[in-house]
């Protein structure tokens, strides 16, 4: 059974990318409008606007006066004629378009990587239910390499806008940016190491993706199971490589935006997030293709199983999230707990909203066995889960880069559209490159007759 990306879908993806690009460009241009010269008045305008709407005239005046006093006293110690507050605000405003771009790029990349892990598990476990879905998974994993390269490229371009440990002089004793903790970690956290590791991770994942796809297609026309056996072996090897590199990737690409803070289960937590988003996307694309009359060998039981995974891994994610949160909250060690203080103080809505979307929604919506077979129900829950995990990535990156100056506006939505369009374009083009049934797989009969 063949699939070709339809013109409508291709046009839609391209339009998304163009609109996204406009949003991203707007974000950069807008943030460049804030410079050292005009930041003082722009902030004052913001402040004034607030005073007007929220306080009485007298209160506003009083506030402005005390604000002025502060500026005067700070002026002497701050360099470049800016107060610390203004300097920070300027940095945050300049960081935002980079951070927004990075969040969007990482979110779509992590979907593809999560699917790759899921796919490898199916092979390593010799699962009998899932081979009918293998071509869908292979389509999604085609985004691993381009998506990963984009994330690395943004990291390279953003430099210290995202990763404060890349700031000049941060490891030099006596420099004004010197930071003892970061200097102590510089054996791992340095620019060369970051990109060499990044390329090794990506290289390993892409190699596995390349060969497993190759063997999977070769198996279609083979008369023995040699290709399948090879796939089994490289999948088991890949999973070992993956679980180490995924963890290190999460320290490098996500956790290091807060270089003082660390959590030992962060790798697992990021893994749970990418795993559940990936499985959700498998379910959504499968249902989409089924609605086009393709994949008629996929039955309700396959959708049921995918929905069970969405349900189960959502709870697994919550378990990890909570394990991390509760220990840090309970022990209340200053250098650890600041991570959550920032989020609860400035990110109340995305932080708790994410919990509702990633835990309570899937828990209640997918608990009933029958609902896991209703396609539109799985799609609706999937949309909530994906939005929730976008917010999850948002909560990883934004507090460290823009602190309280966050908003889901043009730059963020632009990045989602840009990478979402690219993701759809690459994934659906890849789906059209091979038959949708991996017919040579020795478990195909079992998978086609799978019923629950």
């Amino acid at each position: 059974m063949e699939y070709k990306i339809s013109n409508r879908l291709r046009m839609g993806a391209i339009i998304m990318m163009v609109l996204g690009l406009i949003g991203v460009a707007y974000g950069f241009i807008d943030s460049h409008g804030y410079t050292e010269e005009n930041i003082t008045e722009k902030l004052a305008e913001e402040h004034h606007g607030h005073g007007d709407s929220h306080a009485t005239e007298a209160h506003g005046n009083e506030h402005a006066d005390s604000g002025h006093g502060e500026v005067a006293s700070h002026d002497e110690e701050a360099h470049g004629g800016l107060t610390h507050h203004e300097e920070h605000a300027l940095h945050q405003i300049h960081n935002r378009p980079y951070a927004a771009l990075y969040v969007g790029a990482f979110f779509f990349f992590m979907i593809a990587l999560g699917v790759l892990a899921f796919y490898a598990i199916q092979y390593a476990a010799q699962a009998g239910w899932s081979p009918v879905l293998f071509r869908v998974m292979e389509g999604i994993t085609s985004y691993v390499l381009p998506g990963g390269l984009i994330v690395l490229a943004i990291a390279f371009a953003a430099d210290s806008h995202l990763f404060v440990w890349l700031k000049e002089g941060i490891t030099e004793v006596g420099h004004e940016n010197y930071d003892k903790l970061v200097a102590g970690k510089s054996g791992w956290l340095n620019k060369t190491g970051f990109f060499i590791r990044g390329l090794i991770f990506l290289g390993g994942w892409s190699l596995y993706r390349h060969f497993s796809r190759k063997f999977s297609i070769a198996q279609d026309s083979a008369d023995d199971n040699r290709n399948f056996k090879k796939n089994f072996r490289i999948s088991a090897a890949f999973l070992v490589f993956y679980i180490y590199t995924e963890s290190m990737m999460s320290w490098d690409w996500v956790m290091s935006v807060d270089p003082h803070w660390f959590s030992t289960l962060f790798g697992w937590y990021v893994f749970a997030s990418m795993f559940v988003s990936g499985i959700t996307v498998i379910a959504m694309i499968t249902i989409y293709l089924k609605s086009k009359g393709l994949l008629e060998f996929v039955n309700d039981s396959h959708i049921h199983d995918l929905a069970k995974f969405m349900f189960g891994i959502s709870i697994f994610w919550t378990y990890l999230w909570f394990s991390q949160f509760m220990l840090i909250w309970y022990s209340n060690i200053p250098e650890e707990v600041t991570y959550f203080v920032t989020r609860i103080e400035h990110y109340k809505l995305p932080f708790f909203g994410m919990l509702a979307m990633n835990f309570i929604f899937p828990l209640l919506l997918l608990m009933n066995s029958d609902y896991k077979r209703i396609n539109w129900f799985v799609i609706m829950t999937g949309i909530v889960i994906l939005c929730g995990h976008y917010l999850d990535v948002f909560n990883w990156i934004m507090p460290a880069t823009v602190v309280d100056r966050w908003f889901i506006g043009m730059p963020e939505i632009g990045a989602i559209l840009l990478f979402g369009g690219l993701f759809l374009f690459i994934v659906f083009t890849a789906l059209g490159k091979a038959p949708l049934l991996a017919k040579g797989n020795p478990f195909m009969k079992e998978s086609e007759h799978f019923h629950y």
Binding site: F322, F325, M326, W329, Y330, S331, N332, M367, N368, S369, H451
Partner: protein
Amino acid sequence: MEASKVIHAIYTDDDVLMSAVKKVKAEKHHIEEIYTPFPVHGLDKAMGLAPTRIAITAFMYGCVGLTVAIVMMNFIMIKDWPQDIGGKPSFSYLENMPAFVPIMFELTVFFAAHLMVITFYLRSRMWPFKKAENPDPRTTDDHFLMEIAIHNNESELTSLLKETGAVEINIVDKDEDAH
């Protein structure tokens, strides 16, 4: 009470049993009961049994467990004897909530699991000291037994069941008072 006649067909394989059930149902006979040594996947659907409602009770028991945990921890840790552990705010349930989540979770699971098992036993009338209803002890080992009521169609049923691969067919007088 009037004694009724039932037919007992015995099978030695669960796949044969499944196809037999489908054939018997296709002939529009009502299957009273099937005794198996282990749960046979999909048998309930093939027999046309109504779907189980135990999942709904499990959900309700879970909600009860969650409520018990919340009320209990509120009483113990906040109201009755507020405890200061690690300088946490001790007069507010909500602010201490993360510490109670493991207890809330455990009691939810505890209530759901135990009450679900008890419900299952009661609903299946399996209270202590009850005499086994099992008509043939071999169904606890490696045999499967299908029980069909006879309404003046003994020979027809016998030949149908023979065809489906039953290894043994017995006609039994079933005394309703026995349960």
